[in-house]
Structure formats: C-alpha cells, structure tokens
C-alpha cells in the first residue's frame, strides 16, 4: 500500500466581509476551466454548468433589508460525502486534500451529485459545443468534458500541476502564493485566499485561524477545505 501523504493540504479562505458579489470569479472559473456556455433554456431547466456560483440571500424586509453573498465552489471536504458513494472511484480524495473528479472514469450515476450537500457538482446533461471559432478559447491545459459525466471545481488542478512540476524540477516545495486558482487570482476585493493549510505560516492558514471563520454546513461533519470568514453585515437601518 502506497503512502498517501503529501506536504500540501490545499485550502481556501473566503472573506465574506470583502466579497462584493461582483461575479468576476464566476467568469474567471468559466474561462479557466472550459466550463460550458449554457443558454437560457438550459439554465431554466436547472442545468447550469458553473463550477462556482455566488449565492445571494435576501434577509429582512424593506427598508430593513440586507443582502448576503456567498460564493460557493467545491468545498473540497476532507470527509467528502461525494467520494465514498462513487462506485468507480471517479470521485476520490487526492493526497493533497483535494476532492478529485476523474472524467474518464465517471459513468454518470450522479450519486455524488446527490450526496454533495453543497450542490456544487454539475452534470453534463448536454454535449456542449462551442460554435466556431469560439472553441479557440478552450484551454488545452484541461479537458472538455463529454456529456454524461459529473464535473466540478478542482481548485484549478491544472495550475497546481504546473507549479508542482516547476517546483519539482527545481527540487523545492511550492511557495506560498505561487499557485492560485483563477477565482482567487481575479477577485477584485481579494476576498479569496488560496494556500497550503499544512503550512501554518501560509497566508491562507493564518487567515483561517481568524475568529470570524466558519465552515459551510459545519454540522454535517464534512470538514471542508474552504473556510469562510463572517461578513460584517449591516448593523444599522436608516
């Protein structure tokens, strides 16, 4: 039995006090990961393919009304409910603490999609196509998923792989901040911080220790790798 350890435990900290809900991360993710373009009909059917969504909640009534934004991507749970239910190991746990999805292997039972409490797994109901020459925008670093498979946020595994390869070539570990998923990279308000949680000195790990930190659906015991920092919210009404 091979050892399944790694010096990395990737994690992300999302500061809801910084998040303005602008949606830059959503497009960044879509651009980086060849996420399919879904037309109106498809979204009306509930088959949006976005790997990262910004949830918007209304709280209260006018004029004492407030909005809460919550960017939700795959939480890369350490005790991921999606993983053990996959009959073919298409959903599995990577030694770096990531929740992996292997498209070749996926047969499309969609069990993982059901058992994901965060509903971040999207299923390719359609064979998506990019009208020429739009297919040129597709990144060669990551595959285009065929219909019938599940897909989801991978913390931009292709970026992690590239940096890992570089670091390995130079015989060192990945430096803090050297790799960032597309969403964290683009976030105008710098609400998203990505880093190695196994390194207590990484920026993400330091932020994760904030007293404002909480995890989504903590009570389910999924131990997500994504730590949210509570937003300030409106204290006053005028």
């Amino acid at each position: 039995m091979e050892k399944l350890t790694s010096p990395y435990k990737w994690g992300m900290v999302i500061d809801l006090d910084r998040c303005t809900g602008c949606g830059a991360c959503v497009v960044a993710c879509q651009a980086e990961n060849n996420v399919a373009i879904c037309d109106k009909k498809e979204i009306a059917e509930g088959r949006n393919m976005h790997w990262l969504r910004i949830e918007r909640f209304w709280v209260g009534e006018y004029p004492d009304v407030r909005v809460r934004f919550l960017p939700v991507m795959c939480q890369h749970c350490h005790d991921a409910p999606c993983e053990p239910v996959c009959p073919v190991y298409a959903s599995y746990h990577n030694p770096d603490g990531l929740n992996g999805q292997v498209y070749n292997r996926c047969v499309g039972t969609r069990y993982c999609g059901n058992n994901c409490p965060y509903a971040v797994r999207v299923f390719n109901f359609y064979q998506h196509e990019w009208p020429k020459p739009l297919e040129n925008q597709l990144s060669p670093d990551i595959t285009v998923r065929p219909r019938g498979v599940m897909e989801k946020c991978s913390f931009c595994i292709q970026r992690i792989r590239r940096v890992k390869e570089t670091a390995k070539g130079e015989g060192r570990l990945i430096r803090d901040g050297e790799v960032q998923p597309a969403c964290a990279q683009t976030c105008p308000a710098e609400a998203l911080t990505f880093g190695n949680m196994a390194d207590p000195e990484s920026r993400a790990a330091r932020l994760a220790r904030s007293p404002r930190g909480f995890q989504l659906l903590e009570q389910l015991g999924t131990h997500p790798s994504v730590i949210y920092l509570k937003g300030g919210g409106r204290e006053h009404v005028g």
Partner: protein, 456 residues
C-alpha cells in the same frame, strides 16, 4: 381447518390438466396481449435509444434532482421482488399450506421484477456505454470498483438476489418440469427433458428435495432482507435531508413486502381469471393473503409514522423543510399514498367479506402498489429538490422519455410473465398435489400416511 373446496376428489390427471391449462396453445387474446406489450416495450427501447444518442438532457433531471423516475422505478421493482420470497420462503418455513397454489406465480414475479429492477440503474447511467466500469473483474486499467459505494453493494446484492431467486424458482419447479416433460412432445419435450435433469421422483430424490427447499428458503430470506436494506442504504447513508434516516432499512423492507404481497394478490386475481383456476385459488387464499397484507400495512404505517414523527419532533430545520415541502407541493400524491398504503388496507381488510371479495382485493392491492410507487417518488424527489443549500433548490418533472421507459418496464415485466405462463407450469402442481395426497389419510400395511392438511 381444511377447506372443503379443495378438490379432494379429483384425479391426478384432471388436476394436472387443470393446473397446466396455461400451457395450452395460446389464443388470439394472448397474441394480442403480446403484440401490445411488445409495442410498449419497443417504444420504451426507442426512448432509451433516444436518451443514449441525445444525452441525459432528455430526462427531467437537473441539479439538484439528479435521481428521478429511474431510481423510483428501481426501488419499486426491487420492492415487488420481495413477493416471491415472502410468499414462498416465509410461508414455506411457517408451513402455511394455502401458499401452495400461488407460490410459483410469486417466485416468477420475484425473478422478473428483480431483473427489471436491475436494468434501471443501467438505464439511469449518464454513460451507459461504460457500464462495465461497475463490474469487478480483472481489467487492463488496473482499477477495481469502489466497494465502499452503496451502489456496488446494490450490484452485489441484486446479482445475488437474481441468481438466488432464479435458483429458488428452478428448485421449486423441478418436479413440475418432470411432469410437464412427461406430458409434452416435440421441442417442448426436449427442453423440459433438459431442464428436468432426469428427475424421476424417487423417494431419495424427494427427501433431498424437501431438505434443499427448506434450506434455500432459509437462505433466501436474509438475502431478500439485505437487498432492500441495501437499497435503503443507498439513501440512508447519504447526508441528504430526508434520506439520512436509520428507520429506512426496516421501513424499506416492510414497504417492499407490502408492495410484493399486494402484487402477488393482484397477480393471483389475474391468473385465476385468465386460466380458470377458481378451484385452486379460492377465497380462502385471498382471506389469508388479506390478513397478511393487513399486518404488513400496519407495520408500514408504524414505520412511516415513526419517520415523520421523529423528524417533526426534532425539527431539524432542513429536514423539516423537506417534509413541509413534500406536504405542500405534493399534497395529492401524499394523500393517495396514505390512503393506498395505510388507511384503505387497514380499514377494509379487517372485514372478512372484503378479504374474500375478489373485486375489492383487486382494487385494494392495486392501490397499495400505486401508493408504493408514489411513496418511492416522495422519498426520492422532494428530498433532492430541497437539499441543504436553499439557493439551488430545484424541481423535477419526469420527461416523456422517463415515462416511456417506465411504461416499458411494466410492459416488459408483463411480457416476460406472459411468456413464462405459456412455457412453464404456472401452478406449483406437485405442491398442490402433495397437499391433496396428504389430505387423505391412507392406511397402509406398514405405516399410516398422516394427514398434514388438517394441521393448517
């Protein structure tokens, strides 16, 4: 109490003739039925082909409702498959003699419904063409399936159950096959000679046969229980609100038996009518089956009550959200389910007259199965559409493809049954004749043949 209407006075040949009447050359009605069912199945196959070539978007599934009618069907058909085991094995072990005329019908139903059930997970796959990834066998990918997944347990359990129930059916049929062999000619004779394996009915064969039947009955009951428990675990082991419930395995087993028993009664009524077996399937049988149904319906009601009650009391927000959503959006189906599975059987089956009324039993048992189909739908869909993240709640409505395939499943089941009826002895004639033989006390020189029929 021996029922006087059991045809004690009939000759064995006459009984054989009557009980094997289904094997007579089919009439026009049978061909018409086959044509109709075949057409429905063909339509379903077309729908499935359409789904394979187009993609899963032709279904009504979406995020978050990623399981829909196919899995509803799967659970429903697995439930039906409990009929044979229940009627045949449990009643065999408890020596309830009234089981004898119906056990073949029930066992065959088990085999066909579990086979139909087994197809649904495959139909449901997003990439059906790589279904072989699910099979544990040595391959050049160097990767095996994940036995930690309940779906693999399902695959194992259903394989076991299909093989087990086929063996059980075959075992029960072995002496009858010999009888049919002796009465048939042509290709049927060749077929039955092959299947009967040279059975002669020697005293030694009978002794071993009886012991084997008892052993198989004892073995298949835990398998049946495990099958539906595992199906329940598909849901119970998840973190989906409304699914993650410890009552699910027993609740599912009870539900399965409920639908299975009801289906057997429905089938009894149909077979009785179609092959004029009024003398073998008497109101006594319906009375007994009715009592069984009553008990199981009570158990089901208990389990359902427990499930809702505990959720209501604990009032875990998201769990309760699912139940309130269910009762809000699905009021009519919910009421039909409660009526069909609980209220109607419990009230009506208390009365002997109802239990012995074939028409009333037909209505009740059909309603039970409609209720069970709804129950499976209400377990699967509302929970998924109201999962933990309220922002992405969704809804589900089956598409024509899913409905077509469901219809084809029913038609396919009926088609298999129609062929089975024409090919194999539909009534377990050895068992019935054994009872017949035993109901007469025969004084012999060396021993007294005991009349065990009187024990009932």
């Amino acid at each position: 109490m021996s029922d006087k209407r059991i045809p004690v006075s009939k000759s064995d040949t006459l009984m054989n003739d009557e009980m094997l009447s289904s094997l007579r050359p089919p009439g026009l009605a049978w061909y018409a039925l086959i044509a109709f069912l075949g057409a429905v199945v063909a339509w379903g196959l077309f729908a499935f082909g359409y789904q394979i070539t187009r993609g899963m978007y032709v279904t009504g599934l979406d995020r978050p409702v990623m399981w829909g009618l196919y899995i509803v069907n799967f659970v429903f058909w697995v439930g039906l498959s409990h009929s044979g085991t229940m009627v045949s094995a449990i009643l065999r072990l408890s020596q309830a003699n009234w089981r004898r005329p119906i056990l073949r019908a029930a066992e065959a139903m088990t085999v066909f419904s579990i086979s139909v059930a087994g197809l649904f997970p495959l139909i449901h796959l997003g990439r059906n063409w790589v279904f072989f990834y699910l099979i544990p066998y040595p391959n050049q990918r160097g990767l095996w399936p994940n036995f930690r997944s309940p779906l693999l347990w399902d695959a194992m359990a259903i394989t076991t159950y299909i093989i087990g129930s086929v063996l059980f059916l075959y075992l029960g049929m072995l002496p009858d096959l010999a009888v049919v062999r002796d009465r048939s000619s042509g290709w049927r004779h060749a077929l039955f000679r092959l299947l009967a394996l040279g059975w002669r009915g020697t005293a030694h064969e009978w002794t071993v046969y009886h012991k084997a039947s008892t052993l198989m009955a004892a073995l298949i009951i835990p398998v049946a229980v495990s099958v539906h428990s595992i199906v329940a675990w598909d849901f119970a082991v998840t973190v989906v609100p409304g699914w993650h419930s410890t009552i699910f395995p027993p609740y599912f087993v009870i539900g399965a038996i409920l639908s299975g028993v009801a289906a057997v009664i429905t089938l009894m009524i149909i077979i009785r009518r179609a092959f004029h077996l009024e003398e073998y399937l008497t109101p006594l049988h319906f009375d007994n089956m009715g009592k069984l149904l009553l008990v199981i319906s009570l158990l089901w009601s208990y389990a359902y009550f427990v499930e809702v009650q505990t959720t209501w009391y604990a009032h875990e927000p998201i769990e309760w959200e699912v139940f309130s959503f269910m009762s809000g959006r699905y009021t009519v189906p919910l009421l039909v389910m409660l009526l069909g599975n609980s209220l109607l059987p419990i009230t009506a089956l208390c009365f002997k007259r109802v239990r012995r009324s074939i028409g009333a039993m037909l209505v009740i048992t059909l309603l039970v199965n409609v209720g069970m189909l709804i129950e499976r739908f209400l377990i699967i869909v509302p929970s998924l559409s109201h999962k933990n993240m309220p922002f992405v709640w969704g809804s589900y409505r089956p598409s024509w493809v899913e409905l077509s395939i469901t219809a084809a499943a029913f038609a396919g089941f009926a088609l298999l049954y129609a062929f089975f009826v024409k090919l194999f002895p539909m009534v377990a004639l050895s068992d019935v004749r054994e009872l017949e033989a035993r109901s007469v006390s025969v004084p012999l020189g060396r021993a007294e043949l005991p009349s065990i029929a009187g024990k009932e």
